[in-house]
């Protein structure tokens, strides 16, 4: 739970529940079918980044040749240039090669490497991005832990955003008001503390996290399930533009023109986990994509946090199980999370609200925990009419929100004021 008890200022407890550090056994719960590619065993230090660049780009474009196959070729031939020159012979190096991969490889190898690489460079530039290979300094160092590592990345925005400390905030697209407000609170705290917020630009939790980070004046990075020239979901195009214009970055491992499919959604989750120092799963039902990110985090030795939900909430079932199975540390507050990852909280301004007794009562309740009208009636002993009226006033003042109208939660603004003591004395 993100809020705190009735009396105290908000968010001062330290996280309790899980033990620190990565878990080693990745879980019967989280089955992530992955192949070990051996990126960890690769020694890339001898390779010339400039010389290799077109070959890396060209090889990464071969249909069906993913990061795993790419690593195998590097292991066998030592460099992408050598692999490329090996031509059709290298087909034998790749067991279980799809038919179209074989033919694609064969066809490509007849063409000059520049004729393949430069159009991609051009289309990437048109989409406002650039290509970074794993050999180049612009490649995010944090991805060194990722296996299979994307050989090339398509990046738009500020490269700095990929270097500093980062925490991933992820969750379901079908977010509840509770999840949204928790995501916003955590991302806000991270943003103000100067920690980059990494997420997947999806609807729901992801979008909430990006937005809150931007509004807190922080940086945020979106790892796309689609190429840069095809922002997905389209409804977040404007958000993507804001991410770039506020010092953040968009990252994709897919070349422009690629039509994103279901596997692309699952695969980008490992990059989200890879870019971050820690992963926070805010709200995830059973079988949520966010649980793949969680599994990747465990696998890469990143610290995993989960926000608990009510025990009857389907939307939080995945989170609750991560906590129950001791896979994730329970997050009690955004401040506690900052403390765990060793970041200092940012400045906040104090302000005071002028509320009626009933309004303060309702807001105080919602700061503790989101609630339906029914629950609020039980807790505040207010009648339906006055309660509905108080909720609208709080909503008009931006202190309370409702998604769908059934449950209500305190907004970020209300939480900030609550933490600064602005609600004291009602």
């Amino acid at each position: 739970m993100i809020g705190v008890g009735a009396a105290g200022p908000i968010g001062n407890e330290v996280g309790v529940g899980g033990r620190a550090g990565p878990r080693t056994e990745p879980a019967q719960l989280l089955s992530l079918a992955r192949e070990r590619a051996g990126w960890a065993n690769l020694d890339l230090s001898g390779l010339d980044a400039v010389d290799e660049r077109p070959f890396w780009i060209a090889l990464s474009l071969v249909p069906g040749l993913g990061p795993v196959g790419f690593a195998r070729l590097l292991l066998r031939y030592g460099s992408a240039r050598a692999a490329w020159s090996a031509g059709p012979e290298l087909l034998g190096e790749l067991p279980r090669l799809a038919a179209d991969t074989a033919s694609g490889l064969q066809r490509l190898s007849l063409t000059s490497v520049d004729a393949i690489a430069s159009p991609v460079e051009a289309t990437t530039e048109r989409a406002g991005g650039r290509i970074v290979t794993a050999l180049e300094p612009g490649y995010p160092p944090a991805l060194a832990t990722v296996d299979p590592r994307p050989p090339v990345l398509f990046v738009s925005g500020d490269a700095e955003a990929l270097v500093g400390p980062a925490v991933a905030v992820v969750g379901t697209r079908r977010a509840t008001g509770y999840g949204r407000s928790a995501a916003a609170e955590i991302a806000d705290e991270l943003g103000r503390a100067g920690v980059t917020v990494v997420s997947g630009l999806a609807m729901g939790i992801d979008g909430e996290a990006h937005t809150a980070a931007i509004e807190a004046g922080g940086r945020t990075v979106a790892v796309l399930p689609s190429p840069l020239d095809r922002i997905y979901p389209p409804r977040h195009r404007e958000l993507a533009r804001r991410i770039v214009s506020t010092g953040g970055a968009l990252v994709s491992e897919l070349a422009p023109g690629h039509a994103p499919g279901r596997p692309d959604f699952a695969r980008r989750n490992r990059i989200i986990a890879g870019l971050a120092r820690a992963v926070v799963v805010v709200e995830a039902p059973d079988r949520s994509g966010a649980l793949l990110t969680a599994a990747a985090a465990i696998d890469y030795g990143k610290e995993l946090f989960a926000v608990p939900g009510p025990i009857d909430a389907v939307a939080s079932r995945g989170c609750n199980r991560l906590i129950a199975d001791q896979m994730a540390t329970l997050v009690t507050s955004a401040a506690a999370l900052l403390q765990r990852i060793g970041a200092a909280p940012g400045e906040r301004q104090a302000s005071v609200l002028n509320l009626s007794e009933a309004e303060a009562l309702v807001l105080g309740n919602l700061l503790r925990r989101p609630a339906s009208i029914e629950e609020l009636m039980g807790r505040t002993r207010l009648a339906t009419g006055p309660l509905a009226s108080a909720l609208t006033l709080l909503e008009a003042r931006g202190l309370v929100e409702s998604y769908g109208g059934a449950t209500f939660h305190a907004t970020l603004a209300a939480r900030r004021i609550g933490r600064s003591g602005g609600l004291d004395g009602g």
Binding site: G385, A388, S402, G404
Partner: protein
């Protein structure tokens, strides 16, 4: 020889006086009916022929022409039989006296033996006669109770053509039917009680407001949480029709042939709940011979649309006009026809095809985007005409049952609020036009200023603001307050339409 009798016709739900002119001339024996007479009227020839003979009169072996005037009004139905038969008898000199024909409208279907049968819409027909300045109405004896509901009309009931002729010629006068007391239909008792509804305080409250001010209500939420039950409770909360409304509503039911002829005056406020498979025509009225649809049958009462999104899109769309104007207009070749349809719309639906979008305890299994498409079945213009919108979910485990009121308690408050509205402005708050949102009705400058401010904050259209103000007026009336305050307005805003997330 020429004769003229009076009758009346139904157009939509209104009656229109009709003159029946009969000419008996030399020529080949024939009976012709002109004046846009439909097939049911054409068959009157056979009924009239037999009835005249079997009543002991004579059908002249001449050329008989019957004209129904106004001749450009399409006519249907069997109610002209009596007027035609009497006209023929008069034109052929078989009546001793014809003076009373000018001041009595004749409405009834003839059986072959001369018996007079009641027809649908007697009440509207009588009203049309009265409006045309005709003081008397002669109907079949089975229809007298219904006809007597029209004030200012001398009503007589005749069992047969013979009796009718005896009355009209002064041979044996029939007693006039006293206009009072009117047998009223029994009040409805089959509605569930609010005490049976588990939890759902906001839904309850919104229902109370909707009924008290005649506002339109939508309940959205997962299946099985009591949406339908709650809406069904509304029937027991409705105050009875007042005298004027009772006649107005009964007339519509009379035209539709839905009245109990022995107890024709409806006192219970209409509560119509058509199934979602209903056709557009049946919902708003129409057809070759325009009949009132469910929307008009719900006039002055409630139209309940359960599973509203399952209704045909064009049927829902057709509800826009009645929701805004309180009337239904049917376009026809012969010109547009308007019928009253001022009702409170109560509706319920699931937020998505599987029903569980936004529910706390169960996940929605719909594909992404499906829910959005589903919700878009409720078009923007229709959504804009919903006054109260409540998103419901299953009650939490520990439901506070202290505040659960039975229907009787709520209907008392509703009746009081109803009374306040009548006293103040003569109409329901749900019908208040924008110019009535004024000081004299309790809308002070402060609250109107706040309304505009909230409108900007929540991005509400002028129509929505107007509707919100009307709801606030009802909330104030339920609280017994003469003026509309900040708390009433804010509560009204709580019930504004919200889009489910995703």
């Amino acid at each position: 020889m020429l004769a003229e009798t009076l009758s009346a016709s139904i157009v939509g739900v209104e009656g229109v006086a009709v003159r029946v002119e009969v000419d008996v001339a030399f020529g080949l024996p024939a009976l012709t009916i002109v004046g846009l007479a439909g097939s049911q009227v054409q068959e009157a020839r056979e009924r009239v022929r037999s009835a005249i003979r079997n009543s002991g009169f004579e059908l002249p072996a001449r050329r008989i022409t019957v004209n129904l005037s106004p001749a450009d009004l399409p006519k249907d139905g069997t109610g002209y039989d009596l007027a035609i038969a009497v006209g023929i008898l008069a034109a052929s000199g078989q009546l001793r006296s014809v003076e009373r024909l000018a001041d009595t409208a004749l409405v009834g279907e003839l059986a072959l033996d001369g018996a007079i049968r009641p027809v649908a819409g007697t009440m509207a027909l009588g009203a049309a006669a009265r409006a045309a300045g005709v003081p008397g109405l002669l109907v079949g004896s089975g229809a007298t109770a219904e006809a007597a509901a029209v004030a200012g009309l001398e009503v007589h009931g005749a069992a047969s053509l013979g009796e009718a002729v005896a009355h009209l010629t002064g041979v044996r006068k029939l007693p006039a039917i006293a206009p009072t007391p009117l047998p009223a239909a029994p009040m409805r008792v089959d509605a569930p009680d609010l005490a049976e509804v588990h939890g759902q305080p906001l839904g309850r409250r919104a229902l109370e407001i909707a009924i008290a001010g005649r506002h339109n209500l939508v309940l959205s939420g997962p299946p099985g949480i009591g949406k339908t039950l709650l809406l069904r409770c509304a029937a027991a909360l409705l105050p009875p029709l007042d005298d004027e409304e009772a006649v107005e509503v009964s007339r519509i039911y009379s035209v539709a042939g839905l009245l109990d002829r022995r107890a024709p005056l409806l006192r219970a406020r209409p509560f119509r709940a058509p199934h979602h498979t209903i056709s557009t025509q049946a919902l708003v009225g129409g057809g070759p011979r325009v009949r009132p649809g469910e929307a008009s049958l719900a006039h002055r009462g409630v139209l309940l649309l359960d599973e509203m999104l399952q209704f045909r899109a064009d049927a829902l769309d057709a509800l826009r006009q009645p929701l805004e104007a309180g009337t239904v207009t049917i376009g026809r070749v012969e010109g547009a026809l308007t019928m009253p349809a001022s009702f409170a719309l109560l509706s319920a639906f699931n937020p998505c095809p599987c029903g569980w979008l936004g529910a706390r305890t169960r996940a929605c299994t719909c594909e992404e985007g499906t829910a959005r498409r589903y919700a878009s079945r409720l078009s923007g213009p229709l959504r804009d005409r919903i006054d109260l919108w409540v998103t419901m979910d299953a009650p939490v485990a520990r439901v506070d049952t202290d505040g659960v009121e039975p229907s009787s308690a709520v209907s008392h408050r509703v009746a009081a609020a109803w009374h306040r509205q009548r006293e103040r402005q003569g109409i329901a708050n749900g019908e208040l036009p924008p110019r009535e949102l004024a000081d004299r009705n309790g809308f002070g400058p402060a609250v109107m200023g706040l309304l505009a401010q909230r409108g900007r904050r929540f991005n509400l259209s002028p129509r929505r603001l107007h509707r919100t103000a009307r709801v606030a007026r009802t909330i104030a009336d339920l609280a017994g307050s003469t003026s509309v305050g900040r708390e009433h307005l804010d509560e009204a805003l709580r019930y504004r339409a919200e889009v489910a997330s995703r």
